[in-house]
Amino acid sequence: MTIAYGLAVPRTSESSGGIDTTDLRPGLGDPVHDSQRFFRKLLSAMAQPGRPVELPGAPEGPVPLDPATAAAALTLLDLDAPLWIDWIADTPQLRAYLKFHCGCPIVERSQTAAFGLITDPEHMPRLALFAQGSDQYPDRAASLLLQVPSLEGGPAVTLSGPGIRDSAVFAPDGLPDWFWNDWRLNAGQFPLGVDVFFTCGDRVVGLPRSILAEG
């Protein structure tokens, strides 16, 4: 008999038994290597903000997720990553998909989530409504998966900061009109603040809190 003490809290109480798996979309074809590949893309997006990164082979998730959004969710979420989802995305199919493939707890209050999944950016909560981290632990801030109708064609901002050689232009479409003003506040309280992955189709753009957006 092997008993390891100091075990983790069992957080798997919602077993797959309670999930309606009819119509469940498949997850990653090769979980070990697909998630590694997607993670590297996400890492490169976060390390080189404003630069669109393609996620070839991103899976078709349930409506309304774009493949890049589904890939990011499957790559990053698990039991230890509480997720908040916006009302459009919050369908039984999507809940079942995330529960089954990631097992992440879905929380009601955006402030308590490690990740936020937003598919209707126009009606998204203000950035300050997500966890901002604390002075001593700025890492305890939320990451947002923000799915937009397009990564181009919206009002353009000029990005600068770590990861950007000189400056980069970024013009995602479909954001609420307060967004870039909120972003200024977000970047202004660095090292606190949220970090964002903008997703659309099979592409992702990273925007960490360290980046200034002028526009």
């Binding site: 979980p31 993670f39 790559t75």
Partner: protein, 312 residues
Amino acid sequence: MTRAAPQSESVVEAGYNFAYLDEQTKRMIRRCILKAVAVPGYQVPFGGREMPLPYGWGTGGMQVTASIIGRADTLKVIDQGADDTTNAVNIRRFFARTAEVPTTEATAEASIVQTRHRVPEDPLAEGQIIVYQVPQPEPLRALEPREVECRKMHAYKEYGLMQVSLYEDIARFGEIATSYSYPVMVNDRYLMSPTPIPKFDNPKMDDCPALQLFGAGREKRIYAVPPYTRVKSLDFDDHPFAIQQWEEDCALCGAEETFLDEVILDDKGGKMYVCSDSHFCERRRAEGHRGRLSEGAAKAYAAAVGADVEEA
């Protein structure tokens, strides 16, 4: 130059996961890496795992590498700048066994470089990742042993203690008496330990096109410097930061601006200097560069340390 992973030693089939760590641990570390990139220079605490190598051998760097590495990668591992030191060999072998990735000694061919104590002489390029092994991530630790206090200093950007300590050096010795682990400010916000690299390598961190990741296993911290980020070595207007310089050149390849190892030749003070970056030196010799050491002596030395010397 790139070597395929030896199939015979692979343990991927033997029940261990790809790159040793389980997927949940990798995800935890990956989330920490993303936060580390978002807050350059800030040390993210992570649930470090016990690795099958001892703490101090590079378990932090190995966990970072294990969490990012994939089949498409080519790995270079160096220790003291050299690919062939026992610890570098051992870590390279670990990833060849657990992740079956090709390995290389050529800096330019590597997509991931894991290092202890050096930054390669060849400039790193966009898209590459360098993973530093970190014995002590806290730059303030020598001045303040308490984690609780150091954390407050970082939170409020109170780095006066470090400035005072450096200034005391100048008052006492006429210069800053720190030759490695020379503290840096990242993006003008966080004081960061560059790890025990010689201060000679500090400038390579500044505005570097590659992503720099740092893993401290025993202390359970991960931090990062994104590409093109300002990394400034602390100094004073009247005592600007300066790197080490040698009066000699590399005895093997004649390089004038590399970090040199001192090699003791006898017990009468005889010595020579050779590049610490073994691959860089080898490549230069292959290109026909020669140092002051006679052909025969260079060969004898190279044979003694097992380095390849191309026939001229």
